[in-house]
């Protein structure tokens, strides 16, 4: 299991909550959720702009955490383990959502004859437009590049921690991160000049 640094008191608290949750104590599990949910939600919001999608990731993450609690034997790597589950679930949802939204959009266009609005910049403010451009560029990243980018720039994890969570080497994290940032730089710069 991977380790994400925590302070001693936090680790003790997690250890106690974990032990009680494993015995079926609902209140302890709720406290565990309360402690860990902001970071899970942050990961989810790095993948999705929409709160509803992020909420689904949050719920599914803790559903999986709960079902697999018996597999955790100590609290040291708990945070990293939850990070990893959340990232995997966010990737799964992201893939499924991409397929679904393509399908839904096509279906709606066919049914209702609505024109595609994705290229209608007049009504948007400049800043919103820039962030939107960034988001569009982030959408083009591969799932691994996206995961590294979100964990680095939204969750502010160290590259070592990201390597542990994604189970890849530090060198791979660095090169993936460089590719991701380079791609975003190119896209954002091209948009700015257009």
């Amino acid at each position: 299991m991977n380790t994400i640094p925590q302070c001693e008191s936090q680790r003790d608290e997690l250890r106690e909550l974990l032990a009680r949750s494993q015995k079926g104590d609902a209140r302890a599990f709720e406290s565990l959720v309360r402690l860990l949910q902001p970071m899970v939600f942050q990961i989810a919001l790095g993948f999705f702009r929409d709160h509803d999608d992020a909420m689904e990731v949050l719920q599914d993450t803790f559903l999986r955490v709960y079902r697999n609690l018996h597999k955790v034997d100590h609290a040291v790597g708990l945070r990293g383990w939850v990070f990893r589950i959340a990232t995997n679930i966010a990737i799964d949802h992201y893939r499924a959502r991409r397929k679904r939204s393509d399908r839904e959009r096509k279906l709606t266009l066919i049914q209702n004859g609505i024109t595609d609005r994705s290229h209608n910049p007049e009504e948007r403010s400049e800043q919103a437009e820039r962030v939107k451009r960034l988001q569009a560029a982030v959408d083009q990243l591969s799932t691994r590049e996206r995961s590294v980018f979100v964990l680095k720039h939204i969750n502010h994890l160290k590259m070592k921690e990201i390597a542990a969570i994604l189970d890849i080497s530090l060198g791979t994290v660095k090169s993936t991160h460089f590719r991701a940032v380079n791609h975003l730089r190119r896209e954002v710069a091209a948009g700015g000049e257009a």
Binding site: F29, L58, F62, I114, V181, V188
Partner: protein
């Protein structure tokens, strides 16, 4: 300036701006290399935009009801749902087929043997028929909710042209007719548990479909309500709930 130096320095810049390196040599290199100076400038702009996005996420986290959410998430995680999603989707269909099989078998059997009404076999048959009806209702409601979700998506993304408003009104009127028909069977289904959400959905459909056709303000008011009530998310939750097996007949 060697190409390799620039490549190395650009990697160093990315690490530096991401807080992973102290950027030794970057400043000196950039002072002597125009291409890399431009690269660094673009990177700094990108990081500024990432900061804006990160602040957006941070501010949306501040307004969250973490207590309530923890309770909701815990309830969701601890509810006894052993079946996988796939199984959950298959079970209603399997139950319907099983019921149909029983019904067909019974009709053939009773026709041959002349079983009187009120016997155990007749009661089992009536239970099976009710199960089939409930599963059928459930499928209809799931289909309806799927289409309602598409409409909600359109409401949230509409740019408010007159043509779009007309399309929304037409779609809402169609769904409202279906909703009234569904209402007849609602008491037999677990949709009762989500009556509040269905009532809000009905309000949305009514608001959009009554005459005269909705104007900009009416659509904006509907959109605000959909966002405030997180209706899209709640409709999805009901759909999920309905996709799980029938608990009682």
């Amino acid at each position: 300036m060697k190409q390799n130096d620039c490549e190395h320095m650009r990697r160093e810049m990315v690490l530096w701006l991401s807080g992973e390196s102290d950027g030794i040599g970057v400043v000196q290199h950039v002072e002597a290399c125009r291409g890399c100076a431009r690269y660094l400038d673009q990177l700094q702009r990108l990081m500024g935009q990432i900061d804006i996005r990160e602040r957006e996420i941070g501010s949306s986290l501040q307004g969250m009801d973490w207590e309530g959410l923890a309770k909701q998430v815990t309830r969701h995680a601890m509810q006894p749902q052993a079946a996988s999603d796939l199984k959950r989707r298959r079970l209603p269909l399997a139950a319907a087929l099983f019921g149909l099989g029983l019904l067909t078998g019974y009709l053939v059997f009773s026709h041959r043997a002349g079983i009187p009404a009120g016997s155990n076999a007749a009661r089992q048959l009536s239970d099976s028929i009710r199960l089939v009806e409930t599963v059928k209702d459930q499928r209809e409601i799931i289909d309806f909710l799927g289409r309602a979700r598409l409409l909600l998506l359109e409401i949230l993304h509409a740019q408010q042209s007159e043509q779009e408003r007309d399309v929304l009104a037409g779609a809402a009127a169609g769904l409202l007719r279906e909703y009234r028909y569904l209402g007849h069977n609602l008491t037999q289904s677990r949709i009762q548990e989500a009556r509040g959400v269905m009532e809000r959905l009905s309000w949305v459909l009514t608001e959009l479909s009554y005459d005269p056709p909705p104007g900009r303000e009416r659509v904006a008011a509907v959109r605000r309500m959909v966002e405030r009530e997180r209706l899209l998310f709640k409709v999805r939750l009901i759909e999920r709930e309905l996709e799980s097996p029938v608990r009682e007949v």
